[in-house]
Each structure stands twice: as C-alpha cells, then as structure tokens.
C-alpha cells in the first residue's frame, strides 16, 4: 500500500458518485477533443509561402470573369496560375452525399498544387486527356465504393446541366488522390472546367477564384497590390491573399470558430468545475474524522493536502483520459465514414491541451478541500459531528 493506493481507494469510496463525476468530466473532454481537432483540421492544411489566391473583393461566393485569370497569370512575379469553381456537388442525396467538387483547369492546377497531387502518371494523363474525367480523394472514393474506371453521376445543388436539363453530370473516375494529414486535397473531387463551363446553364466564363504561385515569397505583397490595383474600380474588384490567410477567411465563413470553441468548451468546464468542486468539498467534509485520524497517526498536514489534491487530480485525469480516448475513437469512426470537407482526425496536440486543462481542473477543484484538510486541527476534527 502507498499514498496512491489510499487516494484511489478514497476516490472509489462511493463508486456511483465517482462514476457520475468521471462521466461528466469525460463529456467535457470529449467536447474539447472534437472542437480542438476540428479547429486543428481547419488551420493545418498544407500551405506554401509562395501560393496565393485572388478572389472577389465581396467574398469567395462571388465569381470573377475568366479574363481576370489571364491577366493575373501574366502579372509580373506570378510563376503559374490556375482557377477553380465551386460546383455545389453531391452524390445521390444531400446532406449525406455532400462533396466539395471543384471545376479546375487540370494542367495548371497540377502545377500549383503539385506537392499534394502525387498520383500515378497514367491516372494523371487519363485525367488530362478525358474531358468527363474525374479525380477523387481516396477516402471519398472508398466511402462511396467507387472504383477507377467507374461512371459516377454527380449532382449539383447550384447548376443545371444544359445538355440534359437535369442537375446531374456523369463523370468517369480515372484515379484517386492520396490525402495524408494536412493535404489540401482532403475530401476533394476534381472535374474539368471546360466540360463544366460548356454544360452549365448560367455562370459561363466565370471563375470562382484564382490560386497561383509567385516566383518568391518576397514578392507576394507587390504581386497582391499589382493584381488588386489592376482591377480596382472595375465591376469585379479583387482581393489577393496568401494561402494561409485565404484558408482562415474561408474557415471564418463558418463563423468565429475560435470564439465558438472557447464559449462551448468554457461553458462545459465551468459547469464541471462547479460540480466537481462541490462534490470534492463534500467528500472531504464527510471524511473530517478520518483526516483527524490520519493526522493523529502522524500524517503531516502537507501529506494530507497532497493526498486530497492527488485524489482530485486522479479524478480529473481519469475523466480527461476517457474523454480524449472517446473523442479520438469518435473521430476515427467519422473519418472511416469519409465524406467531404476537411478531414477531421484526432490532433495529437489535443493530448497536451487536455493534460494541461485536466491539471488545472484537478488543482482548482481540489485546492479548497485540500486546504480545508490541511488546516484542520485534530481536536476540531474529532469534535465535529
């Protein structure tokens, strides 16, 4: 037997109470894990310092004329540019089949995002040469059971196919894109801009945004100013940003993620703090006489304080461990389900945050009862009824 055994036995003195406390802490840490992993996924897409994006000054849902692309590509300091359109795609039904389908210019797109498009040459060539070809992120193909060579009907919730009058386009899956953590292609489905542009009933010769590479990160500001000034006072003014800023503003369209996370997690932890703090204080008060006995036997006040704090930390870390494990498990189940949007996987950094928060939670909830036990005089402990 040692102090840890004593702490553990004290913790499990009332198993139902302890289990309920652990469950409430677990839920708080589950929320924390999901929220932080979500935030991490949004903020940790691969970026290149020389990769920039030009989009409408209004916001990214406003399109630009295709002529902008040529002018941007010819701007001094731009090494290579490409363009992308949001297709509003889904497979079979919404929202389960939602997919981020982008209509792109294949050759230039493969130059601008070369590091994330490491696919076999045969698949790449097949995509380049077939106008109705489609590439899909590997997890997306796996989720829907698509095989290379298969004809896949994709639907759009924005556009109508001028050829058929329906909202469906047929594509041939010619390859899959591996998406390691941080890949910019996570969840993506790529189709040809030319095919898209010829078959939509409106919005022809318009593009969504223009990603491009500069010759050097040092010329980024100059290039951005040159592009935006060129289109200033035109019908389609632009805003040019580096890729990291663009990704953040894209995420900001979903709301102030940081604030939402802080509020939700904060509310959960304040509630847990009150519950655990009150229960710990009650638990130590119930043991007043035992604290007196331990001190009588020769346990120092410091040691009693450490044991009560340790008990609170043990409770907090148990709940945190279960919460993080449950969060990681849930995220892996969701990841296995695939789907569009950024792939949210368990971010290891969550473990560090969870440990720090568990430590703080344990100390804050354990300190008042620990101090109470520390200050308790033996005579008073035995006198209290």
């Amino acid at each position: 037997m040692n102090d840890l055994t004593l702490m553990s036995k004290n913790l499990w003195r009332k198993p139902v109470r302890t289990i309920l406390l652990i469950v409430s802490i677990t839920i708080a840490f589950l929320i924390l894990t999901l929220m932080l992993s979500f935030n991490h996924a949004l903020n940790n897409v691969n970026t290149l310092p020389t990769r920039m994006v030009t989009l409408s000054k209004i916001n990214f849902t406003e399109s630009l004329p295709i002529a902008h692309y040529d002018r941007i590509a010819r701007t001094e300091g731009v090494a290579v540019a490409t363009h992308m359109n949001w297709f509003g795609g889904y497979y079979q039904e919404m929202p389960r089949g939602f997919l981020p389908v982008f209509a792109i210019d294949p050759e230039t797109y493969f130059q601008v995002y070369a590091e994330d498009l490491q696919i076999p040459a045969a698949q790449r060539d097949a995509f380049f040469n077939e106008r109705t070809a489609m590439l899909a992120a590997a997890p997306v193909a796996e989720r829907f059971g698509w095989r290379v060579g298969q004809r896949v009907p994709l639907r759009s919730n924005i556009f109508t196919n001028a050829t058929t009058g329906a909202d469906t386009w047929e594509f041939t899956l010619v390859g899959t894109i591996p998406t390691p953590a941080g890949s910019s292609q996570t969840g993506s489905v790529l189709i040809h801009y030319d095919y898209y542009n010829e078959t939509v009933t409106f919005g022809r010769d318009r593009i969504g945004w223009v990603p491009f590479l500069t010759t050097s990160a040092q010329v980024n500001d100059r290039v951005a100013n040159a592009i935006d000034q060129r289109f200033a006072n035109s019908q389609d003014e632009t805003s040019t940003q580096d890729e990291a800023t663009f990704n953040k503003s894209f995420a900001a369209q979903l709301g102030n993620i940081g604030l939402v996370i802080t509020l939700v997690v904060g509310a959960a932890f304040v509630a847990i703090l009150l519950i655990v703090g009150t229960t710990m204080a009650l638990a130590v008060r119930e043991r007043t006489k035992e604290v007196g006995v331990m001190k009588t036997l020769g346990f120092s006040s410091d040691r009693v304080l450490r044991m009560v704090l340790g008990e609170s930390l043990l409770l907090s870390f148990l709940g945190a461990a279960f919460g993080v494990a449950a969060g990681a498990g849930l995220l892996s189940v969701l990841a296995a389900g695939g789907g569009g949007g950024p792939q949210i996987s368990f971010a290891p950094i969550v473990t560090l945050w969870a440990a720090l928060i568990a430590m703080a939670l344990g100390l804050v909830t354990g300190l008042p009862p620990a101090l109470q036990a520390y200050r308790m005089r033996i005579v008073d402990a035995f006198a209290r009824r």
Partner: protein, 229 residues
C-alpha cells in the same frame, strides 16, 4: 522506574464564544515507564484534553510536557507529528478505522510513515494482527468485523510501529462486558509482556480494575493522594 511522562504546571483553557473555560490550572503529574494508568472522572473534567496534550494532538497554554526527558510542547508542527508517529499509539472509543481499507491495510497505515520496505511492513502487520488474535481477519473490511474485532484492529494499528506509549480513550465504551474484558486483557498483556506504557481514559470502574492504578480527575485536578501513591 524512570519517568516516561512529566507534566509540570500545565495550563489549558478553551474559548467558547466570549467565554474562556479553564480546563487545567498548573497541572503537574508524572507517569513511569511501563505503567498502566486508568483515568476516571465525570464528563468535562478534562480527561480527553489530557490525552490530547499527552499525545501531542493539542498544546498547553503554559507549562511543560516532557516525554522520555525531552520537551514536546514547543516542537514545531512537523516535528511534533513525527514524534507522535514514532512514540504514541492511539486507541479510540469508536475505533476510527478507515472503512475503505482492509484490517491489514488499516494496521499498515502508520507504517507508511516509516522507511520500512513493503515486505517488512507486511511482516510487522502480520505480527501486530497475531498479537491481537486477528491474523485470520487480515483481509476483512471493518464493516465485516464485530465491534470487538474492530477495536482489536485499532489496537494492532496502535502497536504496529512499536510506540512506547499507548493512549486509549474509552476503548471499551462501545462494547459489551465480555468483549470489553477481552480488549482490556489484551491491553494488560501489552503492558505486562511488551512493557507498553498505557494511559486509558474510562468511565467504567470495571475497566479501570485492569490498570495498575487509577487516577481520578475532577475539574482539572487529580486526587493528590492518588498522584503521590
């Protein structure tokens, strides 16, 4: 015999609200090593306060308390705690065992404060439980034991670290006569065979007969003739 404990001009009072209640006024007494003293007296006479002072769980307002020739009343809180764990074993009326621990673990508690190895601790615990006749109840929790057995575990806990002094506060107050006599016999054995000095507070005249001598305390004063005897 040499004195184990010597109290000299000890004063102790408590404050209840605005009222100051004097418990001892210049109390002087001595207890020899190997003695078995029963302290009797009416409620409020200061019996438990005296045990608290002797055991170092409370401090006198004035006066000195010597244990084995060493003053303990001015020891720091930490040193007093260490002194207590090394020299005094406590036996309470209501046993005060930890309900979450087995009998053996309860007995082992004071040994967590020593440098003994786990193996040595287990051996000492087994010896202590054997002395009180409970070696076959080592893995039982307090709620699985009778009152008498619980008090025996408490006695084993009190003697496991081999202290010179045992302080017992109404050790049989919660037990029937037969069980009480068994407990008192055990204390008597500890005194006679292991040489433990025992100071026992009791209301029970029958229990006091097991001690070598009885001191009567009333309003914070001992009977002078009994003290001198």
């Amino acid at each position: 015999m040499t004195d184990l404990i010597r109290l000299t001009d000890v004063e102790k009072s408590y404050t209840r609200g605005k009222e100051k209640i004097a418990i001892f006024d210049k109390l002087t007494m001595r207890i020899e090593q190997g003695d078995f003293v029963a302290i009797m007296g009416p409620s409020g006479s200061g019996k438990t306060t005296l045990l608290n002072l002797l055991g170092g769980t409370d401090r006198p307002d004035k006066g000195s308390i010597e244990f084995d020739g060493k003053n303990i009343e001015k020891l720091s809180e930490g040193k007093l705690t260490a002194w207590r764990s090394a020299n005094v074993g406590f036996i309470f009326q209501f046993y005060n065992l930890m309900p979450i621990l087995t009998a053996a673990q309860n007995v082992e508690l004071p040994l967590l404060l020593t440098r003994l190895s786990p193996k040595q601790r287990r051996e000492n615990v087994a010896t202590a439980l054997k002395i009180v006749g409970l070696e076959d109840r080592a893995k039982h929790r307090p709620r699985e034991l009778s009152g008498g057995q619980q008090q025996r575990v408490a006695i084993a806990r009190a003697i496991v670290s081999d202290p010179k002094l045992l302080l017992a506060d109404e050790p049989t107050g919660d037990l029937d006569r037969t069980t009480a006599d068994e407990i008192l016999s055990t204390l008597q054995t500890l005194n006679r065979e292991l040489g433990k000095t025992i100071i026992m507070v009791t209301h029970d005249a029958e229990a006091a007969k097991f001690a070598k001598r009885t001191l009567h305390l009333d309003k914070g004063r001992f009977d002078e003739r009994e003290l001198a005897a």
